[in-house]
Subunit: 347 residues, 2 copies
DNA sequence: GTGAAAGCGCTAACAC
DNA sequence: GTGTTAGCGCTTTCAC
């Protein structure tokens, strides 16, 4: 279909060999200034661009980095992706985004496809289904640079970038407690995800600090991280139908928070009159909600940036890196009306 | 870094030539059933996967399709992308997503990069800055299959998939009129985008039908399609500060709609008490807003699916396609409280 | 039915 | 300073 210009065309036109042209183009010091100029000008004139596929085949690298997230239709991840691109773009890397839709199988396929396409490194946030890490471990052991962000893998030793989930959850829960609420439900994702564990601990710690016993009935897991609205709705129903029903729910995920509000609205439960809500979300619209939603917001853009910087550093390191680091960034608590239990909303 | 298994390894291990192995793997009919079985089983056993880069270099195609959108952090586009992936994945294509952030330069870079990476085709929604189409025209003339969706290019003849923007805008505007409002502002994107033009025409047609003269003061363009909140805020300010200020605003874009609500909230203007709002958006949260937002919703997922089917059909067509089609899908109007001018909101 | 060899676009070791 | 050649992994003539 295309007849792109190759180094051969230049060589032929200028009566040179392909290697001379190649060297001239990449500024090899052995080439005379004259020839160099000739080649460069001609290449410019006919708008020559090297074929990156040929380069990848030769160099076994592609100047691109692969990203694995569950969904781009998620405020946290779309913001993180923007952070990733802002760095990658300036450093000459292209970004390939793939979605797992919270499916382990999809994650494996995506990771393998990107590896076989010679991505230079991977930025990974695990799917909510992922427990077996061998697909990543294998590549990592072979030397493929991987940086985890958000949902990280404990058993793979590499750089990781996360929000301070423990503190974010602690702050939100304590805020609810300080508003006079003692019965606080917790709606969260699959039990084995790093973020789930950390946020649960923060929640428990806040309860403990204020001498509130942890009530296992108040803990609800949605294994699909809010992707399946029915799952969320059932979890919410369970909570509000408890004999000793909670006065607030602390929600531990972006999709879960919005899903929870939609479920409550559908069930006719008024927020925060009947139940108060505070949740993790990076939605820009939390303040537009009815009622405006109390949120824990993560520095998603920054997390994306830092993870990308770390990855590029790994990629470009001349020596195998053995010292790894886990960067933790603070979340921010935005207190809005949704957490004021018992108060009706009037605009 | 990697030492992936190649066809050579199999050949060596089995005492065959690489060409025999290659033929056996792709089921060449000249190969004896015996050899074929031998090769296939061994390949399976050592987990052989052909190197897609080598294939791309040879075949000049990559089994991947490139997507150009302004932003993934946009409900419409993230849903469209899910539609795209749902088809591409099943047909054996991988999807490469790029964002323009509404920048023409970024669009050119992204398109060229994907072309040089031998994407088999392109799914394009133009950036709000794009007026010059030569970067796409060039590739299209060379035979690269391109399908436009959402923001389409009039001057490039190919398949296109769009929502019925005219009717969507007409319906929303007429709904406002039928609610008793005659002074309706219109907040929209750059004047040259296809969606802007179509939605403006729908808006004007509804006014005309009800004998309301078009007032140029009521028309506000945000050239960055809602990406820059200040731009939105200024446009909103302009409208509410008019001596004969509108009683409603019909907003013609996803980011614009939410941006407009945020601006009004910041300016202390109550919706719909002081001003009614109806807008294009694919947000799943429109019903959670305060007040719940009257929206025109596009079948984004379906649009993504159809565009992808059309593109794959172009890619796989044996003969050059000369008959092109523009598919138009209906929007849906969701009437909620935000369009009830003069009514205060009580939850 | 199978193997040898060329070639996709490029780079680099090795001539001269 | 420049040309020749081999090779990245694969497919595909062309021989036999």
């Amino acid at each position: 279909m295309f007849e792109p210009i190759t180094i051969k065309d230049i060589a032929k036109a200028l009566g040179l060999s392909t290697s001379t042209v190649s060297r001239a183009l990449r500024g090899g010091y052995e080439i005379s200034a004259e020839t160099k100029k000739l080649v460069l000008e001609y290449a410019e004139k006919i708008n020559y661009h090297p074929n990156p596929i040929a380069l990848s085949l030769k160099e076994r690298r592609s100047h691109s980095i692969g990203v694995v997230v569950c969904e781009v239709a998620n405020n946290y991840f779309s913001q993180a992706i923007n952070g990733i691109e802002s760095i990658a773009y300036n450093r000459g890397y292209h970004v390939i985004i793939t979605q797992t839709h919270e499916s382990y199988d999809r994650e494996v396929v995506n990771v393998q496809h990107m590896a076989s396409r010679s991505v230079d490194g991977l930025l990974v946030s695990l799917s909510s289904e992922t427990q077996d890490l061998s697909h990543l471990k294998y590549l990592h052991d072979k030397g493929l640079p991987i940086v985890f962000f958000d949902r990280v893998a404990a058993e793979i030793e590499t750089h990781k970038v996360v929000a301070n989930n423990y503190k974010g959850a602690f702050d939100a829960t304590e805020h609810l407690i300080q508003s006079g609420i003692r019965k606080i439900g917790h709606l969260t994702s699959s039990w084995y995800l790093s973020i789930t564990i950390e946020r649960l601990e923060g929640y428990k710690a806040a309860l403990a600090k204020h001498n509130i016993p942890f009530n296992a009935d108040y803990l609800q897991h949605c294994d699909h991280g809010g992707m399946i609205q029915d799952e969320v709705e059932n979890a919410v129903k369970h909570l509000i139908n408890l004999p000793d029903k909670p006065e607030a729910i602390f929600v531990a995920g972006d999709r879960l928070s919005t899903g929870c509000l939609i479920a409550l609205k559908k069930l006719g439960v008024k927020v925060p009159l009947d139940i108060a809500i505070a949740g993790f979300t990076n939605s820009d619209f939390a303040e537009l909600f009815s009622p405006p939603l109390t949120t824990v917001r993560q520095p998603a853009f920054k997390i994306g940036q830092i993870a990308t910087e770390m990855l590029i550093q790994l990629i470009e390191s001349k020596y195998p890196v053995t010292e790894f680091e886990t960067k933790m960034l603070d979340t921010e608590l935005f207190i809005r009306e949704s957490s004021e239990f018992g108060v009706p909303i009037v605009q």
